[in-house]
Symmetry: C2
Subunit: 627 residues, 2 copies
């Protein structure tokens, strides 16, 4: 019996468009005799719909579209479609008004509804804000191949068959993320897979919308493998692909047989239709196509960012982007990402040299633009700087050059870039990295300007590493991912990764080798104000991702003065981050929708406050594995 995973790229709120994607996938699957089609969590509205769920007309229209879809789908095929469902009991007995559900559509109707039981409410997830947890574990039954086709639950016409019906346990995303053997702890009181096993299911399917972070697929696969081995049950995991706002979904839908062997995997960062055979005699999944993963972490993050930039641009209705090119490594990387995402003809780089800009900065930026084949424009800002000096003279006379003047330059550039964006309908990409965003080494309303912060979650040391990888790819061009036979029909929103046009290196060697500088005053270097980036990034990793205290970071070998200063800078920069554009999330903990810090706040962890024994560290580290 053939089962297919439709690894779809929905647009949030585009109910008609998303339904059409499901329909196209189902028609293609029908040609290949697929009996059951799996789609991601909330596939009909896209994940996460966030506060659209508070709009009753959105929810009711979703019901209308779901009904229409049921009527249009191939009648014989069973299709699981992610949707929300009202909680009819909430007014009477309490509880949230909606469920996060999956509907089984077949024979023109909604046959069965499954509710998500474990609701992630941490990091970027707010599910308890909207949803009531489902109470029951549920399964669906498919008659075996060779039996006369029968409706789910209506077996009066079923004929005798050699095989027992296939009983499939349906789980939604987080439902599979509570294996205390795997995680070493429980996150929720119940474990839905235990209930399904007790019901005697033959197969567990999981419908997910699991956002990307670096190396997460390895964790997912280890966890799914553990589950399939522990319970001796085949597992099929379906993920969303595509990006919206700060979240990137990497796809990589995957299946494991009852021995814990991987039997299939869909492509990373692309739509796919993955078909796998369930052998009714062996009661197990058969080996099928396994798509390769990116070769290393740099390539993986690169692909994630390319998808993130492409989808944000496209889904917000833009086709072209503009960005400032300083000749530095951050804007060089963002330009390369944008070129790969949108094509060189859709990227405009703007150089805005000031009297403090070095000669090599302009050369490096122009060389990068040439390597990428993108259009560049040069707009010197010296006269505007003088204009501000003159305009502010009555107030500023007699004060020394300082941060205010540095920021004016950055904001002149921000104004010019927005003027270009507004005039020509471009999306402005901002180019700040995570290390800068962490310590506030950036100008609000200046270089922070943009509709999307492409590398805001990429630490500076990783920016270097990706640029080196980009250059080292040599003349190897990224394989033209094209379309597989089954993937092609899903590809309305797909566009192969463009390859930068130039000979290598793409990023001029000088950009990589020169010391980083904001060039906002003569001779300025980042390291005049900040620790070396390898030290800074290690402190930030411990502080932000590992939730370590200043005392712990010092105990790990860092200088106490440096640590205390970095911690203070991070706290003080909160007001800037609050006003930052969405930044593509590639780590476990990004400064985005999952980072909710007060601004008016006097808590600063410093190295003189010992980490008390009052509270166990382990019990407080982020309560759940990032999904």
């Amino acid at each position: 019996m053939k089962i297919a995973i439709a690894q779809l790229n929905p647009i949030i709120g585009d109910l008609n468009g998303n339904a059409k994607q499901i329909l196209v996938a189902a028609r293609e699957a029908e040609k290949q005799d697929v009996r059951l089609l799996l789609t991601p969590e909330l596939s009909i509205c896209g994940y996460p719909p966030r506060d659209l769920l508070l709009d009753p007309s959105f929810v009711s229209q979703m019901g209308v579209i779901l009904q229409q879809l049921a009527e249009e789908l191939p009648s014989q095929m069973a299709v699981l479609v992610g949707c929300v469902q009202p909680n009819e009991r909430s007014l009477a007995v309490g509880g949230k008004p909606l469920y996060n559900s999956s509907a089984l559509l077949q024979h023109g109707k909604i046959q069965q509804i499954f509710h998500k039981r474990l609701l992630p409410t941490y990091d970027v997830f707010d599910e308890y804000r909207y949803f009531e947890p489902g109470l029951a574990a549920n399964s669906l039954v498919l008659e075996a191949v060779g039996s006369r086709e029968s409706g789910v639950g209506s077996r009066e016409e079923a004929t005798v068959t050699h095989h027992a019906p296939l009983k499939i346990g349906v789980t939604i995303c987080e439902d599979l993320w509570n294996d205390e053997e795997f995680w070493g702890k429980r996150s929720y009181a119940i474990n839905p897979i235990d209930d399904l096993i007790q019901q005697g299911v033959d197969l567990v399917v999981n419908l997910s919308a699991s956002p990307y972070s670096a190396n997460k697929q390895q964790v997912r696969e280890a966890m799914l493998q553990h589950g399939s081995m522990r319970h001796q049950i085949p597992v099929l995991y379906t993920n969303q692909v595509g990006a919206n706002d700060d979240l990137i979904f990497d796809g990589c839908s995957v299946g494991f047989n009852r021995a814990g062997e991987m039997v299939c995997r869909a492509r990373a960062f692309e739509t796919d239709l993955l078909i796998v055979e369930y052998d009714e005699q062996a009661r197990d999944l058969q080996p099928s196509k396994i798509a390769p993963m990116p070769a290393n972490e740099d390539e993986e993050i690169w692909q994630a960012l390319v998808l993130g930039v492409r989808d944000y641009t496209r889904k917000c209705g833009f086709s072209k982007v503009v960005l400032g090119l300083s000749g530095g490594i951050d804007s060089s990387l963002v330009a390369a990402i944008a070129t790969a995402a949108l094509g060189k003809e859709n990227v405009l780089g703007v150089l805005m040299p000031s009297p403090y800009s070095s000669e090599h900065s302009v050369q490096d930026a122009l060389e990068l633009g040439k390597n990428l084949g993108i259009l560049t424009q040069t707009i010197p800002i010296g006269e505007l700087m003088q204009g501000y000096d003159k305009t502010l003279e009555p107030l500023f006379a007699g004060t020394p050059f300082g941060i205010a003047e540095e920021n004016i330059q950055s904001r002149i550039r921000g104004n010019l870039l927005m003027a270009v964006a507004n005039k020509f309908g471009y999306l402005l990409l901002s180019t700040g990295n995570k290390s800068e965003m962490a310590v506030g080494y950036c100008t609000l309303y200046g270089d922070m300007n943009g509709g999307l912060a492409a590398i805001a979650d990429v630490p500076k040391t990783r920016v270097y590493s990706i640029c080196r990888w980009l250059n080292e790819r040599g003349e190897e061009r990224r394989r033209d991912s094209g379309f597989s036979e089954s993937g092609a029909i899903l590809a309305t929103s797909h566009q192969p990764l463009a390859t930068p046009d130039s000979r290598l290196p793409i990023v001029p060697e000088n950009v990589i080798n020169k010391p980083p500088s904001a060039e906002l005053k003569p001779g300025q270097l980042d390291q005049d104000s900040l620790p070396d980036y390898d030290i800074l990034d290690d402190i930030l990793q411990k502080l932000i991702q590992e939730h370590q205290s200043a005392a712990q970071i010092v105990a790990a070998g860092h200088d106490a003065t440096v640590v205390d200063r970095v911690v203070q800078l991070v706290v003080k920069a909160e007001f800037k981050r609050r006003q930052a554009p969405p930044g593509l999330k590639i780590t476990d903990r990004a400064f985005g929708t999952g980072w909710r810090m007060p601004i008016a706040n006097k808590w600063v962890s410093n190295s003189t406050i010992p980490s008390s024994e009052v509270v166990s560290q382990a019990s407080l580290s982020p309560s759940l594995p990032p999904r």
Copy 2:
């Protein structure tokens, strides 16, 4: 027996400072023979601490400070202090790692811990992100007056008394917000007060941090009155006061006797120490001081905004603010608020006229400045506009004047204001109102610039109404709120509301009477681009606060074309709001931490999509009453 409510204004994360506030209140209460002191929810860390709760060193340090406080407090007094507590069982059985708790401190020790049972997770509240709900209803017991003082739970020394011990049920904020009789529906499956009544408590205390919105105190009082009458039990509600980031806490702590009569109320928008007598013979609260409420909604919102501006400024470490004065009504109101909040000597108004500015704009702004007694500076921007024109000429030649050029002007002003703020260490206040923020009639990185958006949740029609009220106050100066005897000791962070210095009207009549204009091109009026503000605000009220669909708004009598256009504008402006500064929340639904909309989104409710019957509107309207 005397019970006191310490209506405190904590600073988020300032564990030592907040503990000191509690200590000062307790020492004052001790002088007045108070037996039990109530403090607000999470009084030791301030509410809401948000993701500081994910920092283990923050939680452990809170435990240390709580212990120290227990040792320093007057030994005989029982004090309820809001704090978080680890959930020791979470690793083994699942669940969140913390509780939102209140600790009973007495005799130098933590005597008892109470956990919050109902965890708001809607609007601005994210409590399920951090906390596990408490399972049990709990009460504390105080020996009656006349009995020998005994430790809670240690009665070996208690002497005979004429009165039974007082059994007090402890609830935390939301715990009291689930009365299905009052709300007409249940929000949670359990109702903690029912459990306490069954335990036979004599009094229910509620420790809250309930953010302000207009008219909310009336709802709170009606609900508390309903509860006290329904269960024939006296109720004491303790609220936090003060503001942080987007949230304003209005105080207004209040008590009701078992007949549902109000017996005491603390001041609105100020710290207070409210003492009330519990009559052990009558088993009821005795009448005490009832502070007046603001006379009308305009005054109430005004006071809220004054507190919001004062506290954000102070708690972020600023003493002075700067803002742009356009001669329009929005900046006039913000200047008046800032003057009342911080004193005229701490407010700088900057006029930045362009060639498109009308003569009266400059005059109006100067007159306003004079009325308020604040310093003003005038910085014309004409030359800078020419500078940008010249600089962009190579790219923009031949294109018509449009939005890009309008935005340049606004961004020049934004840059100048930030330069002044950076140079002199001022906080920049932005002046946009809610109507503008809703439809995007504002410039990102221009007039949206600022650390705090003082009136971002105030609809334009309400801006007019508050300004008219401000002028109509006549020569009546706001009463010098001073300090009551009991309040004075809490007043380290308190500063009486300053009264604008000028003769009336404060806001020049011309500012109120002229048609609103952004003055970014010759002859421009807001109403060239937008519907009349009374129409716009009514549509926005229905759309945003009442969750109505476009079809419903049209059915209520609005023009379909106008409604559809407004809805589209609201959706399209999401990218601007995402980058806005925190805006002081004064309505049930503000564009702040409680507004979580996707940007890359294709859902637009429009009047041709009927509101289907599939989902009951009632069941989906915001699931819970705003707390």
